[in-house]
């Protein structure tokens, strides 16, 4: 599907997004953008609860107790007719007349009951697109992870469980630790961070520029293209240099280069084992 990562504006997702990702709104902030698709006005909670009850007694045998499909009946929450329905006007004739060709019998339910079923169906979230996983991701073997850390993974060449990684299991949730194992952290916000959790401090990417005169300038890389390289010197001074072919000479040193070079070589099992090990460092 279309390329840009984005959050769907389905009611529940918006709510979850707003709660987890946004600071409390301040008057200065722009109003939240309109949902992409019209949102039905919410039905009274008692009507929704009644609808669920009627659905469970009459419909769940085929459509599943949550309406998302059972052994014989399709998922109704996102059925085309249910999406088009507003307040039961399209659902009612189906329930009352059945769909004999598809094996659905008719039901003698009151109009109010069917409208309540519709209200309950419409209250169900369509898709959790953009919602982070809350499942337990820990499947690895901590002992194997420790062996990998000190052996085949060569992690101990740069990291120490009593040094930079001390207490990491208490600082971050397991999924973030796992993402950090692969990304190494860094300033590009690789890896999803829970609100308020600062990433680990990673040394900046540095660059050394050598002019034809032999004069060199070294600092933290600000930005680089084929035409310009810019840096901050240790005293905070900003410097930029035009680049033409291979002049001046530019050497970029990324402290996370090991993690980048590692990307094509990881085995998922080793990542999982390392995660299981690092979460024990509390």
């Amino acid at each position: 599907m279309h390329s840009r990562r984005r959050f769907r504006s389905l009611g529940t997702v918006i709510a979850a997004f707003a709660v987890t990702m946004c600071a409390p709104p301040s008057p200065a902030q722009a109003p939240p953008r309109a949902p992409d698709y019209p949102v039905r006005p919410p039905a009274p909670p008692e009507q929704v609860a009644h609808g669920q009850q009627v659905f469970r007694s009459n419909c769940s045998f085929c459509h599943g107790s949550d309406g998302r499909g059972g052994e014989t009946g399709p998922n109704l929450v996102r059925a085309q007719l249910v999406l088009a329905d507003q307040q039961g006007e399209l659902i009612t004739p189906i329930v009352q007349n059945g769909l004999p060709a598809q094996g659905m019998p008719k039901f003698t339910l009151s109009a109010a009951d069917i409208v309540a079923i519709a209200a309950w169906l419409h209250s169900q979230p369509l898709s959790d697109r953009g919602t982070p996983s809350t499942l337990d991701i820990l499947v690895g073997n901590a002992k194997a992870g420790e062996a990998y850390f000190n052996g085949a993974g060569h992690c101990a060449q740069c990291h120490a469980v009593t040094g930079d990684l001390a207490g990491i299991g208490a600082r971050y949730e397991p999924k973030m630790i796992q993402n950090l194992i692969v990304s190494g952290g860094g300033g590009r916000s690789f890896g999803r961070r829970p609100a308020g959790a600062a990433g680990p401090k990673v040394p900046p990417t540095t660059v050394t520029v050598t002019l034809p005169s032999g004069q060199t300038t070294t600092g933290d890389l600000d930005h680089i293209s084929a035409f310009v390289v810019a840096l901050r010197e240790p005293d905070g001074r900003y410097r930029s240099f035009a680049r033409h072919d291979s002049v001046p000479k530019v050497v970029v040193t990324n402290p996370l280069q090991w993690h980048i070079d590692r990307l094509p070589r990881w085995r998922d099992a080793d990542i999982h084992d390392l995660t299981a090990y690092l979460v024990t460092l509390k």
Binding site: H2, R5, T131, T134, F190, F227
Partner: protein, 558 residues
């Protein structure tokens, strides 16, 4: 021949016209990709390797979206004409970039008879190609829909066509911007949204649409005069007995199976085939409900599909990601070209697909000729089957514990148009080699609707490059690493030049040197570039046109 005459002839000449080989009209840019082959190779050569260093800004025009765009102010954009308003919404939604502010100009721009036709979600403009003067501005009152982009307009004589995020096909009078008609082309309640550029072939306006929930995909053909529907081709089985139904777990699964047509196709006049790509199956991130067994390949998702343009009947298809679980849609431009393959002359179509593999097919029959991996990073498949299709490695699906997968969701490439240079036989593609951890967010597959059920955290990148793919071998002739992280499409010219967004805010002209790495000769830092560069000739001068941050930039030799 004057462009006007040529364009008028298009509807009548195409079935017999040998237009693919020569390009449609070298001076103009009358359709999405400049011509029907989607090569984005221009025969113009006024700008070439010897003089491109003197390329300079001819004009810049900043556009403003929405109903008040024409008012301007003494510190804002220059006043333009008041917006002509269309649309059906009684209470139109407010959407920065569509109802106000800077539009996202990520589509193709038509150039016919010296006039540019520009579109963005809910907005369309006519602009003088000589100086950027705005002739008219049309604004559509929207009832909503995902406003992610608009890929451009189509033209038939003096009539223009574009799609809106709330699923209308709108036809305008090119002379005045007045609306001729609008037709609803997809059901808004099913959460369709329409971004693609229509393509006019003969007396057909070919219009795809999109959907990020799980509605069925289709391509429709409309009458250019009346907007009446001529035919509709569903890209998934919709009824018992439909071909391909055996590749789905159930009819219900197929009818919610996706396969949206959200990028324009190519057209081969010799066979009258319209060749386009289809999107991912839904639910995107689990095959359990739609494809529990190997034979459930979920046709025609993730496929290159060829239809007869007059009847809408299927001629052939080729699926690039059977039983996909990563959103590897195959909507990328199918590029048409002729050449030798394994010692035989062939008419071919080539697609560098989102999944990191490139495919070469015989475009007359759909016969598979070649598959190659053009992304070193792509790791979701371990083998390629006898049909040339990558075979998904289930261990690299979304998993509860997390799987390290490349590409990330953006794909090895995406909507960004590639370019094929017939003189080198190389297809130039912007390649992203990004990795993400793919997490399954729910163990119950019934909860995974549409694009739900997956958390994808980008954890690193080998970088973004322009690669040159040899169609005869699938091997890379060269790989040029960009410093920036994204591209927006490519253009090559007979002047031996490749124009590209370097992902760092510059439009760059590279000298192509055959199979040797290209050399940047010229660049201009204009900000975040939004579309693929184009070229055309007006008033005897060749221009290069690109958009950045809501503005058009036109370059020429002074």
């Amino acid at each position: 021949m004057k462009t006007a005459t040529l364009l008028l002839l298009i509807p009548f000449c195409l079935p017999n016209g040998p237009l693919v080989g020569q390009g449609l009209a070298p001076d103009a840019w009358p359709t999405y990709a400049g011509d029907y082959s989607q090569r984005r190779y221009s025969t113009l050569r006024q700008i070439d390797q010897t003089n491109v260093r003197h390329l300079t800004l001819a004009w810049v025009r900043r556009l403003t979206a929405g109903p008040d765009a024409g008012e301007g102010s003494w510190f804002g954009p220059p006043p333009g004409p008041p917006a002509i308003t269309g649309g059906v919404a009684e209470q139109p939604v407010t959407m920065p970039g569509a109802t106000s502010g800077s539009p996202r100009l990520s589509g193709s721009i038509l150039q016919v008879n010296g006039i540019l036709y520009v579109s963005s979600p809910d907005n369309a403009w006519a602009v003088d190609a000589l100086d950027g003067h705005v002739l008219w501005h049309y604004w559509w009152k929207s009832r909503g829909g995902i406003h992610i982009g608009n890929r451009g307009m189509a033209m038939y004589g003096d009539w223009l066509y574009f799609e809106t995020p709330d699923d209308y096909l709108v036809s305008l009078d090119a002379k005045t911007g007045a609306e001729r008609w609008h037709k609803e082309i997809a059901d808004f309640t099913q959460q369709y949204f329409s971004t693609t550029a229509p393509v006019v072939v003969g007396n057909h306006v070919l219009a795809g649409t999109g959907d990020d929930l799980d509605a069925p995909g289709f391509l429709q053909s409309f009458d250019p005069q009346t907007g009446d529907l001529q035919w509709k081709f569903y890209t998934v089985p919709m009824n018992k007995g439909d071909p391909g139904l055996e590749t789905w777990a159930s009819l219900d699964a197929a009818r919610h199976g996706g396969a949206q047509v959200w990028i324009p196709g190519s057209y081969d006049p010799a066979t009258q085939l319209y060749i386009f790509g289809t999107g991912n199956p839904t639910p995107a991130y689990t095959a359990m409900l739609r494809a529990p067994r190997d034979e459930h390949t979920n046709l025609y998702t993730c496929s290159v599909v060829a239809l007869n343009v007059d009847t809408g009947k299927l001629a052939w298809y080729y699926q690039t990601s059977p039983n996909d679980t990563h959103d590897w849609d195959a909507t990328q431009a199918p590029v048409l070209f002729d050449g030798m393959f394994a010692g035989k002359p062939r008419k071919m179509v080539m697609q560098a697909s989102r999944n990191g593999y490139v495919f070469v097919l015989d475009r007359t029959t759909g016969e598979h000729l070649l598959t190659a991996k053009y992304s070193d990073a792509a790791n979701w498949a371990e083998t390629v089957n006898a049909k040339g299709q990558p075979v998904r490695n289930a261990a690299k699906d979304n998993t509860v514990a997390g799987s390290l997968v490349s590409p990330d969701n953006g794909g090895a490439t995406n909507w960004h148009p590639p370019s094929y240079d017939p003189r080198t036989g190389l297809l130039y593609v912007v390649l992203r080699e990004v990795y993400a951890m793919y997490y399954l967010t729910d163990k119950d597959p019934r909860m995974l609707v549409g694009l739900g059920g997956s958390e994808q955290d980008v954890v690193g990148s080998l970088g973004t490059s322009i690669v040159a793919i040899d169609y005869q071998t699938g091997k890379l002739a060269w790989k040029y690493r960009l410093t920036g992280g994204s591209g927006t499409g490519l253009l090559t010219t007979a002047g031996g030049l490749l124009f590209a967004n370097d992902g760092s805010g510059s439009l760059v002209a590279f000298a192509l040197r055959g199979r040797r790495s290209p050399v940047p000769l010229w660049h201009s830092q204009i900000g975040s570039i939004e579309n693929a560069p184009e070229t055309y000739r007006v008033g005897g001068r060749q221009y290069v046109l690109v958009t950045a941050e809501g503005a058009l930039y036109a370059f020429y030799l002074q």
